[in-house]
Point group: C2
Chain length 108, copies 2
DNA sequence: CCTCCGCTTCGACATCCATCGAACGGTCGC
DNA sequence: GCGACCGTTCGATGGATGTCGAAGCGGAGG
């Protein structure tokens, strides 16, 4: 299983990162990853099919938001938080902290 | 000229804001507005037609990123930076500061 | 070796989105 | 009022995007 392409820090584009984060499903994935767990692709239950998840992983990966590490027949996903922080300081933190007061959620 | 709808702080959705900021043209507009000038719609020269600009203004406005104030036959645009900061602390700052090291620009 | 398993790729499809030209609406100056 | 001006709205269009089922691919296990 070959290592897929990951953009270097210099190649990261702000628009691409913002676009990657602008989808609720991908935001959920990032939120999940931010909890620190290293995740396999299959453990996400967002009500989406496997191809769709794979698509979102690719968008996130190509934007430089996540890293994919092949591990046997699984793939471990992790946030590229440090690299993101280096390239776009404060961005990921802001997105994740803003995310805590979930968009439409403060119904309680 | 009636005042168009502006979402309140509570109504702001993270995905919508990120989506609004994920377009290069809109990012350019926001960058421009961040310089502090209050701008009329017509002063943006991004090589886009008027309808397209108007479209981007609307996306930014409906996401809660900018405010539109009718002024005679012009419309003054301004960043809702304080409200954005209140709702999504650090987000706009991060986007704008990241933006200084322009995406593909560090060719020099 | 054969099969199962995890994930990706392919092909298709519906939808969204950025873009434009043309037409419209409100405001100012004359 | 009339025309010029600024910006929006309408309708159309091409391209991107999210979504899925089916098929493919590489590794693990019996």
């Amino acid at each position: 299983m070959r290592e897929p392409h990951h953009p270097s820090c210099d190649e990261l584009e702000l628009s691409a990162v913002l676009h990657a984060l602008s989808d609720p499903a991908r935001l959920e994935i990032v939120r999940w990853l931010a909890k620190g767990d290293e995740c396999t692709c299959g453990m996400f239950d967002l009500g989406l099919s496997k191809p769709t998840l794979s698509h979102h992983f690719r968008v996130l990966r190509e934007a430089g938001v996540v890293r994919t590490r092949p591990d046997g027949r699984k793939r471990m996903l992790s946030l590229r938080d440090e690299e993101l922080e280096g390239r776009f300081p404060g961005l990921l933190v802001a997105v994740l902290s803003a995310d805590r007061e979930r968009d439409g959620a403060p119904a309680a």
